[in-house]
C-alpha cells in the first residue's frame, strides 16, 4: 500500500478479500511474462527455500500479454518487478520513478528470425518487407534499431511495414511476415518445432547488430528505497534470487522441472522448458546480479539515438542503484 489514495480507501473499508498484509517480509514479485524458464532463478529460489533462509515470504505473480508490470508496481500490486530496461526507462520518463536494483541477465536474447526464402540476407534487405514486432513496451529495441539504420517504420517502398505480432510464430509460418521477433530461448525454438530446419532460417541478433538493450532486470519504485527496512528486504531478495539463478545455471534440467511444477496453465512442455533453460543460462552466465554501468550506458545510448523519434528524450538520472547488489554480494 503506497499512496494516500490507497490508504484512504483501505481506511474506508474497501480493502475486501485478501488485502495485502503489511508484514514487511512479504514480498510480491511481478513477472514480465507467463511462468517459464525465463524466470527460472526466482522459482528455484522459492522452491529450494533460498528466500525462506533469508526470512522472506515471496509470492511470484506471473505476467501476461496485457500486464504492464510498471502499472502493477504503481498500483501497489507488487513490490518488485521484472522488466526490460527500454520500457522501464520510458516509463520512468512518463513519471513512474522505476529504479533498477539488479540485473541478472548480462546479454540480450532478442533477435529477428527470417525465412531464407524471403531473401532477407542482411539489414540492407529490410526495406519493402513486413516485419513482425511485439508491442506493449517491447517495441523500443526494434524501433531504436530501425532508427539507427535510418529505415522508416511506416511502410512504403523504402520503409518496413510493421506487423504487431501476437504471441506466437504463426506470421512467419503463414508467410504474413518476412521476419518476426523471437527470443533465443523461446520463439526461435517454436519455429524449429514447427518443422522448419535451422539452415532455412536467417537470424539477426540484437547483440551482433550492436543495438542490444538490457532485459529482465529487477525494478522497484524510487520512494520505496527511502525505507531502510524495504532496502534490507531487497538486499535479501536479490541475494536469494541470484543464488537461485546460479543454481539454475548449474542444474538446468532440474530448474526446468521446478518451473513446470509452478505452471498453473498446464500448457508448458518439458522439452521446450529444458531447452529454454539451457538458452537462458547463456544469457545469465555473465552476471552476478550487479548492473554493469557500461551496459547501462550502452542501453541508454541506443535508446537516445533514435533519430527523430527517440524512445527517451533525455539522459535519465537515478534510474539505477548499485547499493542493493553491493550489499547483497559483499557477504
Amino acid at each position: 500500500m503506497k499512496s494516500t489514495f490507497l490508504a484512504a480507501l483501505a481506511a474506508g473499508g474497501l480493502a475486501l478479500g485478501a488485502g495485502q498484509a503489511f508484514s514487511a517480509d512479504e514480498i510480491t514479485l511481478q513477472l514480465k511474462w507467463v511462468t517459464q524458464a525465463q524466470f527460472a532463478g526466482y522459482y528455484v529460489a522459492l522452491e529450494k527455500g533460498f528466500y525462506e533462509e533469508e526470512g522472506l515470504d515471496v509470492t511470484i505473480k506471473p505476467g501476461g500479454p496485457d500486464i504492464a508490470p510498471a502499472q502493477v508496481l504503481a498500483g501497489g500490486g507488487a513490490d518488485v518487478i521484472v522488466d526490460w530496461m527500454p520500457s522501464a526507462l520510458a516509463t520512468r520518463e512518463k513519471g513512474v520513478p522505476l529504479v533498477n536494483i539488479a540485473q541478472p541477465y548480462k546479454s540480450s536474447g532478442m533477435m529477428l528470425t527470417c525465412l531464407k526464402e524471403n531473401n532477407v540476407m542482411s539489414p540492407e534487405d529490410f526495406p519493402g518487407k513486413t516485419l513482425g514486432v511485439w508491442f506493449y513496451g517491447n517495441e523500443y529495441p526494434f524501433l531504436s534499431w530501425m532508427a539507427h539504420l535510418g529505415i522508416p517504420t511506416d511502410g512504403g517502398e523504402d520503409g518496413v511495414t510493421v506487423l504487431k505480432q501476437g504471441f506466437n510464430v504463426d506470421p512467419l509460418l503463414q508467410k504474413q511476415a518476412a521476419c518476426i521477433s523471437t527470443m533465443t530461448y523461446n520463439e526461435y525454438w517454436q519455429v524449429i518445432d514447427a518443422g522448419i530446419s535451422e539452415d532455412q532460417l536467417n537470424t539477426f541478433k540484437y547483440e551482433d547488430e550492436g543495438v542490444a538493450t538490457l532485459e529482465d532486470g529487477l525494478y522497484v519504485l524510487e520512494d520505496d528505497l527511502k525505507d531502510p527496512k524495504f532496502k534490507d528486504d531487497m538486499v535479501k531478495f536479490v541475494r536469494a534470487s541470484m543464488k537461485g539463478w546460479k543454481w539454475a545455471e548449474e542444474n538446468p534440467d532440474e530448474a526446468a522441472e521446478i518451473v513446470l511444477d509452478y505452471d498453473d496453465t498446464g500448457a508448458q512442455t518439458e522439452k521446450h522448458q529444458k531447452r529454454m533453460m539451457s538458452e537462458v543460462a547463456k544469457l545469465t552466465a555473465g552476471s552476478n546480479g550487479a548492473l554493469d554501468p557500461a551496459d547501462y550506458q550502452r542501453t541508454v545510448e541506443v535508446l537516445l539515438g533514435g533519430g527523430s523519434d527517440p524512445v527517451i528524450t533525455k539522459e535519465p538520472e537515478g534510474a539505477y542503484t548499485l547499493e542493493i547488489t553491493d550489499a547483497a554480494l559483499s557477504n
Partner: protein, 289 residues
C-alpha cells in the same frame, strides 16, 4: 420428437463436419507443400491429405484431433490436474456464476428504480446503453490492476467484468417486463387501493417473469464471455481464458479449439439450466407450456 428435433440437428451437424473435413485440407495444404518443397521432395495429393489431417501445428485442426484432445483432457486426466480441462472449466465457471449473480441482482434493482423514478430513467438510460459501447474487454487488464491497487484480489475482479456485461440485458429486459402490465390491470390495483410496493410485488414482478428469464439466458452466456476475457490478463494463471491464451501463445491450435468447444458446451449447459428454471417457474405461475 425424433423427426422434428434429432434428425434436423444431426443433419446440420453432419453437414458442418463434412465442410470442416474439406477445409482441413484446404487450409493446411500450403504448409504441407512448403515443407515438402523445403525438404526437396515431390508430394502426391494423397500424401497432402493424410499429412493435413495429422499436422502438429495445423492452421485448422481436424475434427478427430479436437475430439481426441477434448477426450484426453476431460476424461483421462485427473480432475485436480492442471492439465485437465474440467479443472480449468470449473475455475471459469465459479467466476461466471459469481459475476452473473451480482450482475442480475444489480440489473433487477436498477430496473425497479428506473420504473419507479422518472429522474433515474431519463438520466441513466442513455448512459446504461453507452456503458455497453465501452470496450470493457480492452480495459479489463487495467481494471484488474486498479482493483488490486485498492485491495480487491482473487475471484472478485474477474467476476466484476462478468457483472459489467451481464447487468445490461437484465436491466433492459426487466424495465420492459415491469412495464408490461396493461393499464386495465394497473387500474384494477388502484381500485383496490394498492400502494406502489404492493403493485410491484403482486402485479409487476409476476408479469415480468418471462422477460426476466429471457434476459437471464443472455446474461449467463455473456457472463461466461466476461469471465474468459478477465482470465486473459490475470497472468494466464488458470481457467479457459488462460488455456486459450497459452494455446495461442505456443501455437497449439488444437488446444485453442478444444478450449473453445469446452466454453461453448459450458455456455449451452448454463443456458439450458436457466431454460429449465424458466419452464418450471412459468409452469407454477400457470403459464401455458
Amino acid at each position: 420428437m425424433l423427426r422434428e428435433r434429432v434428425l434436423p440437428v444431426a443433419t446440420v451437424v453432419f453437414a458442418i463436419l463434412a465442410i470442416w473435413c474439406v477445409f482441413v485440407v484446404v487450409m493446411n495444404r500450403q504448409f504441407v507443400e512448403d515443407q515438402a518443397r523445403r525438404a526437396g521432395q515431390e508430394i502426391t495429393f494423397g500424401e497432402i491429405v493424410s499429412q493435413a489431417y495429422t499436422l502438429e501445428r495445423p492452421v485448422l485442426p481436424s475434427p478427430h484431433q479436437v475430439a481426441a484432445e477434448l477426450w484426453s483432457t476431460t476424461v483421462k486426466k485427473k480432475i485436480t490436474s492442471k492439465r485437465s480441462l474440467v479443472y480449468h472449466a470449473w475455475i471459469t465457471l465459479s467466476s461466471t456464476l459469481l459475476g452473473f449473480a451480482i450482475g442480475s441482482g444489480f440489473g433487477i434493482i436498477l430496473a425497479i428504480a428506473i420504473v419507479h423514478n422518472r429522474t433515474m430513467e431519463r438520466s441513466m438510460m442513455p448512459w446504461i446503453i453507452a456503458s455497453q459501447t465501452i470496450p470493457i474487454i480492452a480495459i479489463a487488464p487495467m481494471l484488474i490492476v486498479v482493483l488490486n491497487a485498492i485491495g480487491i484480489t482473487g475471484l472478485l475482479p474477474k467476476a466484476l467484468i462478468s457483472t459489467y456485461l451481464s447487468f445490461f440485458p437484465v436491466a433492459v429486459g426487466m424495465v420492459s417486463g415491469l412495464r408490461s402490465p396493461d393499464q386495465l390491470q394497473l387500474d384494477l390495483m388502484r381500485t383496490y387501493n394498492a400502494n406502489d410496493r404492493q403493485i410491484l410485488w403482486k402485479l409487476r414482478l409476476p408479469s415480468a417473469m418471462p422477460y426476466l428469464f429471457t434476459s437471464l439466458k443472455i446474461a449467463i452466456a455473456i457472463s461466461l464471455v466476461g469471465a474468459i476475457i478477465a482470465e486473459l490478463p490475470t497472468g494466464a494463471v488458470a481457467g479457459l481464458g488462460a488455456r486459450l491464451l497459452s494455446g495461442s501463445y505456443y501455437g497449439q491450435t488444437v488446444q485453442i479449439w478444444s478450449a473453445l468447444f469446452m466454453a461453448a458446451i459450458l455456455a449451452s449447459v448454463l443456458v439450458a439450466i436457466v431454460g429449465l428454471a424458466q419452464t418450471a417457474v412459468l409452469k407454477r405461475m400457470g403459464a401455458r407450456p
